[in-house]
Amino acid sequence: MQDNRMDLHTEPLILNMGPSHPATHGTVRFLLKMDGERILHCETEIGYLHRGFEKHCENGTWTQAFPYTDRLNYNSAIQNNVAYALAAEKLLGITDKMPDRCTAVRTIMCELARLADHYTNLGAATLELGALTAFLYFVEARELVWDLIESVCGARLTSNYVRIGGLATDLPEGFDAHVKQVFAKNRELWVEFDKLLTKNRIFLDRMRDTGAISKEDAIAYGFTGPCLRAAGVEYDVRKANPYLLYADLDFDVPVGFTGDNFDRYLIRMEEINQSIRIIEQLLTKLPKGPINVDNPAVRNPSKEAVKSVMESMIHHFKNTIEGIKIPAGEAYVPTEGSNGEVGFYLVSTGGGKPWKCRVRPPCFALTQAMGQMVQGAFLSDIIPTFDMINLIGGECDR
């Protein structure tokens, strides 16, 4: 039998998966070398969504970079806002001077963004595995979270909420009650989603033992976030290098064993619960007070002050036209994005614009390992693996 096969002239099938393919969303291309349904080799090509984010930032003021950061990982835009603001504030040296309420609200918003991101990611993964109804359960949960974000800053997707030295607006009236109402519904949806999938044999077979990666390889590739924790490494920036209020909060970091897609799924499912827990803790002890740092050279004074006090007007004008003056230096603040470590490396020469704005996107490191993770697997295994990596074109290609 084996000999007959040797005589036949066969050659591997070269398959171009993407960028225009339902699973790759126009953002990435897999050049596959296939033996029937088996993947012999997978070449990952990124860059289809490159917009020149870093160069954009260098051509606007420090404040004008916020809308661009929204468009990196648009599922959790506020986390990018916060990461950028934290790096800029470190350069300014005002990290300890931030008002308590501002830090608390930022933490809440970061966790809301994480909820939205995980809901979208898990929902989309099930959608691509064919379970459309489960997908819409989590889309509903995400919409409810976006309702909350909308009530805070007016935008659902690209929030543009955080500012250097403060926030755009304070939380609205009745935010607590709204959050309680949303979480009650989201817990129900979580249970339904869990029932539909976690013990579903088909889902298990599709997720388990696919896209697995070892602890060592995960670290070597620079994995962070749920994918690294799924491989068994207990590393969460919120615990390892606490920022905002995370040091004072009581929450658990789920860690997996196998590094396969099912563990990644379970970790995201658990992180949803933990984020809800964090937000509920914060809402019970939300400090009162200002949301902006009291420094008109950094954070614009109020509109009333601008219209009545001359100094305020001058600051407003200078901040808007020239940009906030950030002292020369460089800074990097790692934060735990929904997908892994997000950090902005900012370099200032003392002007109103960033000299350099480099973002560390988590999914870039994850996407590198695609080829290894699907090597020898079936064509269908690309789908859950790629979904659990959660490549966001906007973030990976910048």
Binding site: L13, L129, G130, I202, D205, R206
Partner: protein
């Protein structure tokens, strides 16, 4: 095949008229009601399951009729779309494939009885288009012809994704046809016939329904039937997130619609087979043909038979609709298998279980006798 021996005794004209009425009825049920309406049902049912509103945009003077007009707009769209044939495709086969897919789906219904036998004005009406003694085997045979449509479509499109889809169809259909045949052997042993009308008639007693006599066979058959239908969780040949649209990636317009229609018609046929074999066909539980006829006896013997017939036909289609509903429920709930998992399920789980089922059924029949 036909029981021609009794032909000379009867009048040919009423026989042909009856035949025509039955064919027109089944054809219009399938092509006029189910094929277009299932698209609407699928939209609305999935919307209901997913907390959405579903199709409600198309309107005539503001009347949307629960989104039913989408059926009409779909038809207009599909008829007016460009009929695209990719470069390098085999034009003849590309044209032929959708026909090979849709025709078997249509003709498979011929042997399924949608009612019993009724004595109307001295004419004996048998509510099945072709009362073949090979019954179910005919459906297997025809269904396997339908597979060629998908395989040829995958081959003729000159597209790697279509080709992969075509290979998957071939493998999946081949595996599950074997298993499906074996899952039903138990039913044939229990009823001692392959003729669908006789199986239907044998289920007049509620406790003799196939589901009670062959529960294991039922579950195995429904798994195979879902696989034959190529819908989630067995939709690997057209898995849209992997193969774009699988074997019909390169089809557009009415040719695409024919694949779509074939899928829906197969769903109707599967539901009808399920009803005919396992759920008593046209029979109503605890209400026999004679009881119904007696109940409507005040209308006179002929009209009573007509009313009985209408009730039976209605019951049959109601059961079919219920099964379509359940099949759609499954389709919208479960994720899809992987290629190797489908093969494993077919060959390593369903096939052995079906064989055990046959052995156990045989033993039980021997014991009972």
């Amino acid at each position: 095949m036909f029981d021609y021996t009794y032909l000379p005794e009867m009048n040919l004209i009423p026989y042909l008229a009856e035949m025509m009425v039955k064919i027109v009825f089944i054809f219009s049920m399938n092509m006029g009601v189910f094929a277009p309406l299932l698209g609407w049902v699928e939209r609305k049912q999935s919307a209901l399951m997913q907390d959405r509103i579903g199709a409600n945009r198309a309107d005539i003077f503001g009347f949307t009729v629960f989104g039913l007009l989408h059926t009409l707009t779909d038809a207009i769209k599909l008829l007016t779309k460009e009929d695209f044939i990719p470069r390098g495709a085999d034009r003849t086969l590309h044209y032929l494939a959708p026909f090979i897919a849709v025709v078997p789906a249509l003709v498979a219904f011929a042997v399924i009885p949608f009612g019993g036998q009724y004595e109307l004005w001295g004419h004996k009406a048998n509510l099945v288009i072709a009362d073949l003694d090979v019954g179910m085997l005919y459906i297997f045979a025809v269904a396997s012809v339908g597979t060629y449509g998908a395989v040829i479509a995958g081959w003729a499109s000159n597209n790697n994704w279509s080709l992969l889809g075509g290979i998957r169809v071939g493998a999946q259909m081949l595996s599950y046809e074997v298993a499906m045949g074996l899952t039903l052997v138990g039913i044939f042993m229990v009823y001692g016939t392959l003729r669908m009308t006789e199986i239907g008639a044998a289920q007049e007693n509620f406790f003799h329904w196939g589901i009670f006599l062959q529960p294991v066979g039922f579950f195995l058959f429904i798994a195979c039937a879902l696989a034959e239908n190529k819908r989630t969780p067995f939709d690997i040949p057209e898995a849209e997130s992997e193969l774009i649209a699988g074997y019909f990636t390169e089809y557009s317009g009415l040719k695409f619609a024919m694949f779509w229609m074939a899928e829906f018609l197969e769903m109707v046929t599967i539901s009808a087979v399920l009803v005919a074999l396992f759920f008593g066909g046209w029979q109503i539980p605890f209400v026999s043909h004679q009881m119904l006829a007696d109940f409507f006896g005040f209308l006179g013997p002929n009209l009573a038979q007509v009313v009985t017939m209408l009730i039976h036909v209605g019951v049959f289609w109601a059961k079919v609709c219920l099964w379509i509903f359940i099949l759609m429920l499954i389709r919208w709930t479960l994720p899809r298998f992987r290629y190797d998992q489908v093969m494993k399920l077919g060959w390593k789980i369903i096939l052995p279980l079906a064989l055990i089922n046959i052995a156990v059924t045989g033993a039980v029949i021997l014991l009972v006798r």
